[in-house]
């Protein structure tokens, strides 16, 4: 019976299911992508790290650390050493220079994977002569060719190859500072290893086959921590890479899930209309002796069948889409991504399609049980109030449980699930509230003085069988999605570009040695550029807090101090006054101490909270071998958003002035050519000094955000497309109702223009209201993100807002009107005869 009854409505039933196809497709694509990525990371993990074990130290390793490394060399089959830091590279032929990441290597690294170069000989003969491998984008930027010269520090190198790929490299990993591989033995000659040079020391080991490197690392854990060496193995790299990308895939899965939820609302609304149209059919069946239960199952079978078809179609589409994902994502991935059909993903997709379409269709479908056989005699659309039906409440509960369980499965964390559900509930409730509120307001304050056609269009939004709620939710949610993406992108760029405005500094020169300080300053002033800030930097480590060392804290589980305080190198400064970007929140600012007095230091508030230090605590600092005591005099709040030097620790003048130090100078350049010329001047005179140009950062960030934005838009596109499909399906379903209405209007003398204006008004009101609500949601979401995530202020770009409202409204009107055009072609008599 279900099959026979569906014969005349199959195309319409398919429209219902079109709403969930995209949601299923996005989920299947994401699951397949995730499965493929996991497999690829597993297969290529060795090539990601390039060795069995990597040890890293962010400061010059101590004697003890070097002895430890030597002991591991004894166990290994092969080993390599690397010193990594950023510096300026100069291309004499192009007369250009740029900040690069120098990777100075000794040994046969990588042991797994390869350095891919053009020509191949570049990598093969690397290390044998004074030559370098240069990132291909850098080569392109300066028009460099193999055999050209590259200047690093005071040394000239011949370029032996253009670097295409190296272990763990992504298209974006070198965006800010492209990589240059240098033989370690030639590094000393460059003169780049000076005071303040921030060098990472890495040691790579290859162990014999069958060697249990992870067990070794586990055994040596305490020793590694003591020596401040960080370790990575193939297994840990696999885990961390897998984790970070699985987070990305989970996020995408959630976006797909939102698209699916949106589609489900479409299904629910469509089935509601379908059931209403089947009123007489059900009543006839009831007259012929069909029980309410049987009638209900006839339609349930239809929906399940169509849900299954939707699931299969979605899974097919998703499987096809996953073949395009590597094209979109490859720039961000450290492994070569393969695409294979993932059967578990397909089964999940098909199952989900069926379950979710049945679940959401059940809400309107239960009404079938209440259709009275009396409807055969006289159609009465009013049934018992739906909230009185206990089954309906069970279904609502099932839907909530399903959504919670699905979100929990996706997020693997109850707290995140809670916030996700809260966000979803708030968004849906707000859109629902706006739709209901709007309908209430237009009914209560109907503009009866408006021209008839406008009134008719507006009134269609609250009249029986209206689609206001479902369209407002789907269009509103889609708009909120696009607008949030747009706002966040804008916010991030605005934040950086603001730093370059208002005559603030936009170029920073770092690694200036004390002996170079005055010369660099004069050179800057002679070039007609202002010296906006000159800051000394002293590197140090915390040795003790109130007399407690790291070993004491490790053995005392009750201590509120964090072990993190002792790890890593701190870059501090000294001065007698606060910057504009700083504000004292606790204690008292002390700008200067007399000779012989105990030093005073001000800590950045959040850093102090993180390490558990209080105002008045006594710190003992290891300043490059010399211990310096200091009292914490105050906490400062720092505005990190400004393009200027900011420090966690600022000492009073007179505390560390005599310590070995280097300097940073900040200036403002006004054009790209001025920047290039000044960088040339600096690099040619002081090759060890690095230059960071804010405009370059802005450019890189812009292109990075554009690519990330594209990926998010690609994923978010599923939600937006689903919103559109729901919109199209809703309009097409309501068209069946509208045909009769509009033909009657035509019979009563309405012209084509009049009907078009009514339709246009209806969808214009809907589009404007939905897009405006969506944008308000996006403004709210972006403001929260601005305050809690980006810590910046957010002013929505009015031009963009207006453009979005106009585009979404225009699209809604377009779809509404296009779908209604066929109605106008119908002859009144033909339709009336069908009655």
């Amino acid at each position: 019976m279900a099959w026979r009854d569906s014969r005349k409505s199959r195309s319409r039933l398919f429209l219902f299911i079109a709403s969930i196809v995209l949601g299923i497709a996005s989920l299947v694509a994401m699951y397949s992508f995730n499965a493929n990525l996991k497999r690829d990371i597993d297969d290529q993990a060795a090539g990601l790290i390039g060795a069995d074990l990597e040890l890293e130290s962010r400061r010059k390793p101590s004697e003890a650390a070097l002895a430890f490394v030597d002991s591991l060399i004894g166990l290994s089959e092969d080993h390599a050493r690397e010193e990594r830091f950023v510096s300026m590279a100069r291309f004499p032929k192009a007369n250009g220079s740029r900040l690069v990441q120098v990777r100075a290597l000794s040994g046969a690294f990588p042991f797994y994977g390869t350095l891919e170069t053009v020509p191949v000989e570049g990598a093969l003969h690397f290390g044998q002569e004074q030559s370098v491998l240069v990132d291909k984008t850098l080569m392109l930027q300066f028009g460099a060719e193999v055999q050209d010269t590259l200047q690093l520090g005071v040394s000239d190198f011949s370029i032996s190859g253009s670097l295409i790929n190296s272990p763990g490299q992504t298209a974006f990993s070198g965006a800010m500072a492209p990589t240059v591989y240098v033989p370690l033995r030639y590094l000393e000659g460059t003169g780049l290893q000076q005071v303040g040079s921030r060098i990472e020391y890495r040691y790579y080991f290859k162990f014999p086959q069958g060697f249990r490197v992870d067990d070794l690392v586990k055994q040596l854990d305490d020793r590694l921590e003591e020596l401040q060496l960080q370790s990575a193995t193939i297994a840990s790299t696999k885990e961390s890479a897998g984790r970070s990308f699985s987070d990305v895939a989970d996020f995408m899965g959630l976006v797909g899930f939102i698209a699916l939820l949106l589609g489900c609302i479409g299904v629910s609304s469509a089935v509601h209309i379908y059931v209403r149209e089947k009123l007489v059919t059900v009543a006839i069946l009831r007259c012929l002796g069909t029980s309410a239960r049987q009638a209900f199952f006839i339609f349930l079978v239809q929906i399940a069948g169509i849900g299954l078809a939707g699931g299969i179609l979605g899974a097919l589409l998703g499987t096809m889409i996953q073949y395009f994902l590597p094209l979109v994502m490859q720039d961000f991935l450290p492994v070569a991504l393969s695409s294979q059909v993932s059967w578990p993903a397909i089964v999940q997709g098909v199952g989900l399609g069926m379950v979710i379409s049945i679940l959401f269709a059940l809400v309107p479908l239960v009404a079938v049980r209440h259709i009275s056989p009396l409807n055969t005699l006289r159609v009465n659309e009013e049934t018992a109030p739906s909230w009185k039906d206990p089954l309906r409440w069970w279904i609502y509960s099932l839907i909530v449980v399903f959504v919670v369980v699905f979100a929990r499965w996706q997020l693997r964390d109850w707290m995140q699930t809670f916030f996700f559900m809260l966000g979803i509930a708030f968004t849906f409730a707000l859109l629902y509230g706006v739709a209901k509120g709007f309908v209430y307001l237009i009914r209560r304050h109907f503009p009866s003085k408006w021209p008839y056609l406008w009134r008719q269009g507006l009134a269609n939004l609250y009249r029986p069988h209206n689609q206001t709620l479902v369209l407002l939710v789907s269009i509103g949610l889609g708009t909120a999605f696009i607008a949030t993406l747009f706002f966040v992108q804008d916010m991030l760029l605005e934040r950086v570009s603001m730093a370059s405005s208002n005559n603030q500094a936009n170029m920073v020169l770092f690694d200036i040695q004390t002996g170079q300080k005055d010369s660099v300053k004069h050179l800057t002033l002679d070039a007609g550029l202002p010296v906006m800030q000159e800051v000394p930097i002293v590197t140090m480590q915390i040795a003790a807090i109130n007399g407690h060392t790291m070993a004491d804290i490790r053995s005392d589980s009750t201590s509120e101090l964090s072990q993190r305080a002792f790890r890593g190198e701190i870059r501090a400064t000294y001065r007698d006054s606060l910057f504009e970007s700083e504000k004292i929140t606790d204690g008292k600012w002390i700008g200067e101490v007399m000779q012989g007095d105990t030093g005073q230091v001000s800590l950045e508030k959040r850093y102090a909270e993180r390490i558990g230090v209080q105002v008045g605590d006594r710190l003992l600092l290891n300043v490059q071998g010399v211990t310096v005591p200091a009292i914490v005099s105050s906490f400062r709040e720092v505005d990190w958003n400004r393009f200027q030097t900011n420090f966690r620790l600022v000492f009073a003048k007179g505390t560390i002035d005599q310590a070995p130090q280097f300097h940073v100078l900040m200036t403002r350049i006004n054009s790209e050519s001025e920047s290039a010329a000044f960088q040339q001047l600096i690099v040619s005179r002081f090759p060890n000094i690095s230059v960071l140009d804010l405009n370059m950062i802005l450019e890189v960030l812009d292109s990075l955000l554009e690519k990330i934005g594209f990926v998010i838009q690609f994923i978010g596109g599923f939600s937006i497309l689903t919103g559109l499909v729901v919109l199209i399906a809703s309009v097409m379903i309501s068209k069946y109702q509208r045909i009769r209405e509009n033909v009657l209007l035509r019979t009563l003398g309405a012209s084509r223009r009049q009907i078009l204006v009514i339709t246009l008004c209806e969808y214009l009101f809907l589009g404007v209201l939905a897009s405006f609500t969506g944008i308000m949601l996006a403004v709210l979401g972006s403001s929260l993100l601005a305050v809690f995530v980006f810590e910046t202020s957010f002013i929505p770009p009015m031009g963009g807002v207006l453009l979005l409202v106009l585009s979404v409204s225009a699209l809604t009107v377009f779809i509404g009107v296009i779908n209604s055009l066929s109605i106008l072609r119908q002859s009144p008599l033909e339709v009336l005869r069908k009655e």
């Binding site: 029986p464 069988h465 009563l748 003398g749």
Partner: protein, 222 residues
């Protein structure tokens, strides 16, 4: 003698189905005088409703001429036909054909609003009073009985003060008692407004109440 409001001259209507031409009406000619009442009667499938559709400008004839209030309907565009219908024609259907999403009052207001009439609401209320349904003005069609729906339909038909009223089986869907009431209302309103009435019916008693009966069989007038 009063002028003709409706003139049909050698009107034919054919439908084409899968390449086969099926003649529905052949060589129909008659005239209806202004203010007169007429009934088109005939067995099912004889072409009555098709003829009514042609007369009312709901469809175009294949051959011949239809003149409504001296306007030749042949060759007019759908919009021009809509204008003619709105200005000169009122309709009553067997299935009432009320807009389900509009209240009774709004249904009656539609032809006036399309015509740009001011105070459509006041005039619609008056019409609903005439058919005895002023108290049900805010109800939707689904909340009204069949008889009430047809009375709303009657009020709507007279809303634009049409020159000619076409009624297709106006009592066909009603019980005898309600049908009688609707009939009386129809003729009463028609008399008061001086409108020409053309109705299609199976009911020979109803047809007998009109001044002229046009018998149609097999697509021809007999």
């Amino acid at each position: 003698m009063a002028a003709s409001i409706l003139q049909l001259q050698q009107v034919s209507k054919n439908y084409t189905l899968r390449g086969v031409t099926i003649p529905v009406l052949r060589d129909i000619s008659f005239e209806i005088e202004t203010g007169a009442t007429a009934a088109i009667v005939g067995p099912s499938g004889s072409g009555k409703t098709t003829l009514l559709g042609l007369c009312a400008g709901l469809d175009q004839c294949s051959d011949g001429t239809v003149l409504l209030n001296e306007i030749a309907l042949n060759g007019l565009s759908e919009d021009e036909l809509a204008q003619v219908r709105n200005a000169h024609v009122g309709f009553i259907f067997q299935n009432f054909q009320l807009l389900p999403t509009l209240t009774a009052l709004e249904n009656v207001m539609v032809p006036m609003e399309l015509h740009g009439v001011r105070d459509a609401s006041g005039m619609a209320i008056e019409l609903l009073e005439k058919v005895g349904l002023a108290s049900r003005a805010a109800h939707y069609p689904s909340q009204l009985s069949g008889g009430e729906q047809q009375r709303v339909s009657l009020a709507r038909a007279f809303a634009n003060k049409p020159k000619i009223l076409f009624a297709d089986e106006p009592t066909g869907n009603l019980d005898a008692e309600t049908g009688q009431l609707v009939e009386e209302l129809l003729f009463q309103l028609n008399r008061e407004a001086g409108t020409t009435l053309v109705l299609v019916t199976h009911d020979l008693d109803l047809a007998a109440k009109t001044q002229r009966i046009i018998h149609i069989k097999g697509g021809r007038i007999h």
